[in-house]
């Protein structure tokens, strides 16, 4: 009877210690993949829409009105990324997991800005700027949260 209880307990313990993190990694990966697909799909829609960081319109375009448009995202890394990142910091080099995280966030912020501009009937977005800041840490552990803001001037004809 004690053996059975012990085995059940061991099994549960393994499930929690190994199973849960694996489940979280898989969920995170799936969500990341879906998000990249979503970004690619939305980028294809806006491919011919000029979004530039110059402060004037491209030659041949004219505008009569302008307004500020913004797009923002707050993203978090996860505990496992942080855990592996700690080991990466021993040897240095590119931190791939953080790189894809920031890439997603920047693309998402930019797309939100573009979508806002298109809703306003803009012909282009000029003077685009990106701003990233760390806005604090989640309770307890050091899972960092970052904010990405993308803003620019939407120009209407």
């Amino acid at each position: 009877m004690d053996d059975l209880a012990g085995a059940v307990f061991l099994l549960l313990w393994l499930l929690v210690v190994i199973g849960l993190p694996i489940a979280f990694i898989i969920t995170g990966r799936i969500r990341e993949k879906n998000h990249f697909e979503d970004i690619a799909r939305r980028e294809a829609i806006h491919r011919n829409f000029p979004v530039i960081d110059l402060s004037f319109l491209p030659a041949g375009m004219t505008g009569s009105r302008g307004t500020l448009v913004t797009g923002q995202v707050v993203i978090a890394s996860d505990y496992l990324k942080n855990f592996f990142a700690q080991y990466r910091q021993i040897f240095g080099g590119e931190m791939k997991s953080y790189q894809t995280m920031m890439q997603r966030a920047k693309a998402e912020a930019r797309l939100r800005m573009i979508e806002e501009a298109r809703k306003l009937g803009a012909v282009a977005v000029i003077n685009v700027r990106f701003e990233t800041s760390q806005i604090g840490q989640a309770r307890g552990k050091s899972a960092a949260m970052s904010e990405v803001l993308c803003y620019g001037t939407a120009v209407m004809t």
Partner: protein, 107 residues
């Protein structure tokens, strides 16, 4: 009020400079959102509740900036910049600043 982050406004001419205007707000996250965010930290990804909170806060900072511009008799703010900084654990400052100007449409 026209607000842009370029130095000029398309189709408009700046006729008077009114000076620098600014608006800021410091927001703390609240517990309910924090618990949700804590759970989200397990898988990573976007924290929608925080995105909304910051969007709303940034709008407030901008409104304060625009109110100041209005007080100066301006009808537009050009060259707007945003900054965000963490002032304490769990509190973020959102700051918007720009130059208040009077503009008129180019005939």
């Amino acid at each position: 009020m026209i607000v842009v982050n370029t130095e000029t406004i398309p189709g408009h001419r700046i006729i008077a400079l009114k000076g620098l205007v600014q608006g800021n707000t410091i927001r703390a996250k609240h517990l309910g959102r924090d618990i949700g965010a804590g759970l989200k930290n397990l898988v990573g990804g976007e924290l929608t509740a925080y995105t909304e909170l910051l969007t709303e806060s940034r709008r407030q900072a901008m409104e304060r900036m625009m109110a100041q511009a209005q007080q100066l008799g301006a009808n537009a703010v050009v060259n707007v910049r945003f900054t965000t900084s963490s002032v304490a654990a769990g509190a973020a400052e959102l700051y918007a600043y720009g130059t208040a100007v009077t503009v008129e449409p180019v005939a």
